[in-house]
Symmetry: C2
Subunit: 335 residues, 2 copies
């Protein structure tokens, strides 16, 4: 790809000449230094506009070895919760005066490796990664050892020496399941999700924990894995009903799964919320507005984003701590 027509670009020298100060002073003004006189600052600011000067971050970044570019490496942009999360992250990062760029791995670890390799060349200041399935601790640690600040989100990679920000999955499904049990249901299935990602184990653990604690018998057969897509949810619901035809309630791995499950229920003339109670996880925007409104575990993208930025700010201590963002059970019409 050719660059823009290379007409000798406007540099600090040009601005300096026009404003009658030195390039160094111009640089100070650009960086908002307090040790430059108001008179000089005014002149420089005027000259910047006059000349149409554009700051060259390549040069700055080369010389200073600093960067304010944060890379968000997301697992799947077409997943609505991921999109919501990315938007939250963007916002928080922008408020810190930094700039974020998004790249999408599509849940493919090879793509992830390639993308991160490229991003390293761009001198990014930090990586926020929602690791694709198959991500190894070795890979992450390597990145960290090279000196890049890294935060993992949503998914844990065991053995990775990084801070990980994720929702309190166990508490989430545990609360949801408890709620379903309190409603008097006993024949309960856990739908969707996939062993290859860490949240699955946690959310499933929350479910089993609540079930055992309440002494409700349940079978592993009714914990049905699936793709985390709407269609996956349909399939899972179908399978569950095949095994136990009079299921009373389902706890879903996430909202998208719940959407699919509801679709299947309707196709066999079961009313969600009446014939079968259902509860999701994530609290997508749609969940509040659909009919019946979906009970679900609210995970605040903003809170996650805030936690991530907090970590980013104190990254020095190559901290490998785990930050659990609190969740909230939201009871609506579907349960």
């Amino acid at each position: 790809m050719r660059s823009r027509l290379t007409s000798k670009s406007v540099t600090v020298f040009d601005v300096a000449r026009v404003s009658g100060v030195s390039k160094s002073t111009v640089s100070l003004v650009i960086n908002g230094s307090s040790k430059v006189s108001d008179k000089a600052r005014k002149k420089v600011e005027k000259a910047i506009i006059e000349t149409g000067y554009v700051y060259n971050r390549d040069a700055a970044s080369l010389r200073s070895r600093k960067s304010n570019l944060i890379a968000i490496v997301i697992n799947d942009l077409t997943n609505p919760y991921s999109a919501q999360l990315v938007v939250g992250l963007e916002q928080q990062i922008r408020e810190l005066g930094l700039f974020s760029m998004i790249v999408n791995t599509g849940e493919n670890v090879e793509t992830q490796i390639q993308l991160v390799k490229n991003l390293k060349e761009y001198n990014v200041a930090a990586f926020i990664i929602c690791p694709a399935p198959g991500t190894t601790a070795e890979w992450t640690n390597n990145l960290v050892d090279q000196g890049f600040p890294v935060v993992h989100i949503m998914r844990e990679v065991t053995g990775a020496k990084v801070a990980t920000v994720l929702p309190d999955n166990i508490r989430g499904t545990s609360l949801a399941t408890q709620h379903i049990i309190e409603r008097g249901h006993r024949k309960i299935a856990f739908l969707g999700g996939n062993e290859s990602i860490s949240d699955y184990h946690q959310r499933l653990a929350g479910f089993t924990e609540a079930m055992t604690l309440a002494d409700v018998p349940f079978s592993k057969k009714l914990c049905i894995q699936s793709n985390t897509t709407r269609n996956g949810g349909r399939r899972a619901m179908e399978q569950a009903l095949d095994i136990v035809s009079d299921i009373e309630a389902v706890v879903c791995f996430n909202d998208v799964i719940a959407y699919g499950a509801i679709e299947y229920m309707r196709s066999v003339d079961k009313q969600p919320g009446k014939d079968i109670a259902i509860v999701g996880f994530d609290d997508l925007k749609d969940s509040r507005l659909m009919s019946p409104a979906l009970s679900t575990v609210h995970v605040s993208a903003t809170q996650i984003a805030i936690a991530v930025c907090q970590v980013l700010k104190n990254i020095k201590d190559g901290s490998r701590n785990k930050i659990l963002v609190d969740i909230e059970l939201i009871i609506r019409e579907s349960s």
Copy 2:
């Protein structure tokens, strides 16, 4: 944001020293030049691995004034079609050997202006922009005049001197409406969308065109604007039924609107596809899998992405042409 611990980084000089050639030769190898002997290439490649050399794009980009970074400026990542589109673009761009980054304006023109201003500093090779409402031709033209290759997608900004890639909206809704009419429906509403974006006018035009051509009387009152969200679709459907309680069919601005409309239908005990025929626009993944499967106008994200890349490759001619990507009416169970 501090950069990574600045341990003197490995440069071409280090690689040169280790491999016993000059920095220039190393540079040639890195750039895959054909005019370097196999022997030298081997040595350099070995040394690159040994030393853990990381290419510094800031330096390269500074010196060469070239860049292979393509900015995708998208209007709203939480819109499923936008997400799908972005994924398609990423793929095509990657196949061209370029690198893409995504930023999200959230339909806010101020954010768009700010983001693009920042991106200019990063020496991006080109902009792919889905313009936020309120984008002015002046702004776009300014960007073009500064020498940046720009392509608009999905939405037209009248007066902008750029290539615009967008689906054949008029043909799309026209076909969809024709189809609905052929099914024998006469009381037809057009739901959703918003005057502030150009696709609305086009899709509405396709609808009215087909209606007039078939001599089906219709009222502007039944063309109901709304937010392009699921909830917007619900509201629009509600409004439509308030006006004409025995509506036979609805043509929707897009699939998301259709989802909302279907939800509302169900809440008032109307069966989509039986009591009211419905057709969408976009063909989201879910539309094929839902029940009843949604009839819709398929817009291939891949084809749009391919067209965009084609334009990008021949951008020299500051072409302001309009590239219509063909659509396909897909008839499923909902109509």
